[in-house]
């Protein structure tokens, strides 16, 4: 039998053969993100887990300020919008009032590490039983690509046009390593979403983070090293290559704290 494209389609495209499609826990609204932006992938794996773990009616998410300010339009679960950097405080309140809900904050690096640095540290130090999803693209994407606390040395942004000079602008802040050292955190991991292999790994890490919260263990925290094609002024494909070649030397991937114990030397 000759397998023409039409014949393959006829044989294979049947509901029972469907192995992957967009989860209904993402709305049908077009994402407001630029083409190729990692925010879309991060939204999707998080919502896939909420669906797979049967938490769709028991989840409350907190959206940040930043490009993902409209996350509540795209994630088809109960959501609240926080003031810039204040998502962990709002998550704290919601979790204390609704201890049986799965409560997460979803925050960019400007939101979590700059204006919200204080909230992040104290929330993790209190060991609030929430999950923080931290999208680190090393830049303020939404406002036009300014330098963030996470911008890596030498990286060009609109406010460091000659590259980040650490003598003048300080060193990138590794928030994930810092929170891992606080006794309140139970599971801390750094992941990425630039390839299919990494997306699958990141999803497993977020699953561990959700499980930790469901078991009442304290704060779980997953950083996702992501891209900002517009802010970095690169095509999406180039941005992902640049991320792999440059960001990961500074931001090492993998679990940092598991079951309340450091599993990696902090450098």
């Amino acid at each position: 039998m000759e397998l023409t494209a039409d014949k393959i389609k006829e044989l294979v495209v049947k509901p029972e053969n469907k192995v992957y499609t967009k989860t209904p826990l993402l709305t049908d609204k077009t994402l407001s993100y630029c083409p190729g932006c990692g925010h879309g992938v991060a939204h999707r794996i998080l919502m896939e887990l909420v669906e797979e773990m049967g938490l769709e009616n028991d989840t409350i998410g907190i959206a940040p300020v930043g490009c993902s300010v409209l996350a509540y339009e795209f994630m088809n679960v109960d959501m609240q919008e926080a003031a810039h950097g204040r998502a962990p405080a709002l998550a704290t309140a919601i979790k204390r009032l609704w201890p049986n809900k799965f409560v997460f904050s979803y925050q960019g690096d400007g939101d979590l590490a700059a204006i919200g640095g204080n909230e992040t540290l104290h929330t993790c130090n209190r060991g609030e039983n929430i999950t923080i999803i931290f999208i680190n693209n090393g830049i303020y994407g939404m406002t036009g690509g300014q330098m963030a606390p996470t911008t890596i040395p030498g990286m060009r942004t609109s406010t460091s046009p000659y590259g980040r000079d650490v003598q003048m602008m300080g060193y990138p802040l590794k928030m994930t390593e810092i929170v891992a050292m606080l006794p309140g955190t139970y599971y801390v991991s750094r992941q990425a979403v630039y390839s299919a292999k990494h997306v699958r790994k990141a999803k497993k890490a977020i699953k561990k983070a959700i499980e930790a919260q469901l078991e009442g263990k304290g704060t779980s925290f997953v950083e996702i090293v992501s891209n900002c094609n517009s802010g970095w002024k690169m095509t999406p494909v180039k941005a992902n290559q640049w991320l792999e070649e440059n960001m990961l030397d500074y931001y090492h991937l993998g679990d940092i704290k598991v079951d309340g114990k450091l599993v990696k030397e902090i450098v």
């Binding site: 494209a5 393959i8 294979v12 390839s195 494909v237």
Partner: protein
């Protein structure tokens, strides 16, 4: 008759933003960008050669906009 794992993908071209990440992710190099543009003005992803597709879903897993649906079946050849 032999059996073969055959994949097939459907791309919702009007939702595609033309980022090309699926093209790079596909281990079989069977996705390309269209010459035409969709209503938003993006060159969209095209699945131009189904036969080598193994239904691994790597293309769908990296798509930021959830545009790709993947099917997989064992078929007789």
């Amino acid at each position: 008759m032999a059996k073969k794992v055959q994949g097939y993908i459907e791309i919702d071209k009007e939702r595609c933003k033309g980022c090309e990440l699926c093209v790079v992710a596909c281990p079989k190099d069977i996705i390309r960008m269209s010459k035409d543009v969709n209503a938003k003005g993006y060159h969209y992803a095209e699945f131009f050669n189904p036969e080598p597709c193994v239904g691994c879903a790597d293309c769908a897993v990296v798509c930021p906009d959830g545009v790709i649906t993947v099917y997989r079946a064992r078929i007789e050849v």
